[in-house]
């Protein structure tokens, strides 16, 4: 990959990676740092990574960096994880996407990651598998379970409202 291609990858993918990492980590500063680290790693290997594979490389690196970050934070107890259907009735929602956004935050990390890669980036199951190190069937299962959880969340919100 040339320097021009590297810079083009910044223009094309930095926003997407930032959104993905931000949703995963829920912390702007950590997300920015992760994006920078991701591109730093790409730069050190830019001669070995072909431009065709750069998006996958970036998301793979960002995903693993996010998971590492979450593990570190989990040890500190700063980030709480959970899968219980936690619905706050005090929240004011303006649209479905806002509700979904809340629901996505409650998904287990792995389900959240595969769902975001699927919906935000339109990756195939196979590509998501390559990024996350899962096989295609596992990816499918996580996505199906995530959707079921989101649907139940929507139903619960509907019932509350």
């Amino acid at each position: 990959m040339t320097v021009e291609e590297y810079n083009k990858s910044v223009d094309l993918f930095a926003d997407g990676i930032y959104r993905f990492v931000l949703k995963t980590l829920k912390d702007q500063d950590m997300a920015k740092d992760t994006v920078q680290d991701t591109y730093e790693k790409l730069w050190t290997k830019h001669k070995e990574v072909s431009y065709e594979k750069v998006k996958s490389y970036l998301f793979t690196t960002a995903y693993h960096a996010s998971i590492d970050q979450i593990r570190r934070e989990k040890k500190k107890g700063d980030i709480e994880m959970g899968h219980s259907l936690d619905i706050s009735t005090n929240e004011q929602y303006s649209d479905v996407q806002e509700v979904l956004s809340k629901a996505v935050e409650q998904l287990p990390e792995i389900q959240k990651s595969v769902l975001l890669l699927r919906d935000y980036e339109g990756y195939s199951y196979e590509e998501i598998g390559e990024i996350t190190g899962l096989n295609e069937s596992q990816v499918k299962v996580y996505i199906f379970r995530a959707r079921l959880f989101l649907k139940n969340y929507l139903v619960s919100i509907e019932n509350i409202i």
Binding site: V3, D11, F144, R145
Partner: protein, 349 residues
């Protein structure tokens, strides 16, 4: 127990149900023979026993539960709905889903709910510091070629710089206008510094690095220096940023008679000389540190030439230098949107 007219019903019901003890059955039958009215009643009851009819439930299959589990989903409808969202439905599954929705319209709402689980990225969230991630090209250039390229570029920049500065002087034809225009070399936003007091006893032409407290010092190595008097106020306006300072003076006069010393009397009138001949601008750091006023040398003219070229093409070209204590350029750094390089300056480098 003997069967009689008072208790025969107990035995008769058990007999009809087939539960009567065989020993008592014979006794009961004898009793019925002895009591014809009760036998008649028994015959009526016997005829009223219902027999099983061959009636079956027509659609047992819909009541049955299937053992279903696909892609981690145990509910078939949920599986079909999610598969629909994921565009994974086979033709058979699509038909099954359609049939289910046709049979029960309320299931359509279920499908719509699953449709809503597709999250959409918020495009307003962007990574703002993309420029910090970008890299500039590194082009390997042979040293001999590099010297030629840099030499040619420097010559062009030098010519343009000299031409532009000369044009300013010739066009405006007065030192006051030079003040106005030449300091636009820096072309930066100015700041104002008010010098409230100048605490100095003497200042000589030969001194180097002589200090003016809270102000600036000077280096005089020109035969002809320009003395500037700040009469009404000692306000100095300087362009800032990084290195360059703009000095706006209220009045400029040229003088061939540089005073050997400056008495405190002069200072008390808020009047003191500033060399301008070679000293068009000064480094902010230098002034703050009480150091030297920078001279406009070849590098500064080249620097100005580079900037002029950048302005002409609408590009942000920057040429900076690291200097040693004596003001000798040790390293130059050029930066533009497309290319940046740092190069040492010296005969053997």
């Amino acid at each position: 127990m003997t069967i009689n007219r008072l208790n025969y019903e107990l035995f008769l019901v058990d007999y009809l149900d087939g539960k009567l003890d065989p020993f008592l059955v014979a006794e009961l039958l004898i009793f019925l023979e002895q009591n014809p009215d009760i036998k008649e009643e028994y015959d009526g009851i016997q005829n009223s026993v219902l027999e099983k009819e061959a009636i079956t439930f027509p659609n047992k299959s819909i009541l049955k539960k299937k053992s279903f589990s696909k892609n981690g989903i145990d509910d078939e409808l949920a599986y079909l709905c999610i598969s629909s969202v994921e565009n994974l439905l086979s033709e058979e599954e699509q038909n099954l889903l359609n049939k289910k929705i046709y049979d029960d319209v309320s299931l359509k709402k279920e499908l719509l709910l699953f449709d809503k689980t597709v999250t959409v990225a918020d495009q307003s969230i962007i990574f703002k510091s993309k420029s910090r991630l970008k890299r500039t090209s590194i082009v390997p250039i042979r040293q001999s070629s590099y010297k030629v390229y840099v030499g040619v570029a420097a010559s062009i920049a030098l010519l343009i710089g000299m031409f532009t500065i000369g044009k300013i002087i010739l066009t405006n034809n007065s030192i006051n206008d030079i003040q106005e225009n030449s300091f636009s070399i820096a072309n930066y936003q100015p700041i104002k510094k008010n010098i409230e007091s100048v605490d100095i006893k003497t200042m000589s032409r030969k001194e180097e690095g002589n200090t003016l407290k809270n102000s600036f010092s000077k280096t005089v190595n020109s035969e002809k220096a320009v003395a500037i008097e700040l009469k009404d106020s000692a306000k100095i306006e300087m362009p800032i940023p990084e290195k360059i300072q703009r000095i706006e003076l209220s009045e400029l006069t040229t003088s061939n008679n540089w005073p050997e010393t400056i008495s405190s009397d002069i200072l008390s009138k808020q009047t003191y000389p500033i060399t301008l001949n070679k000293h068009l601008y000064a480094s902010n750091d230098d002034i703050e540190n009480g150091g030297h006023i920078k001279e406009i040398g070849v590098f500064e003219i080249i620097q100005y030439g580079v900037k002029s070229i950048g302005d002409f093409f609408g590009a942000n070209l920057q040429l900076n230098a690291k200097k040693d204590k004596n003001g000798k350029v040790k390293e130059i750094h050029f930066e533009s949107k497309l290319i940046a390089f740092t190069a040492p300056v010296g005969k053997n480098e």
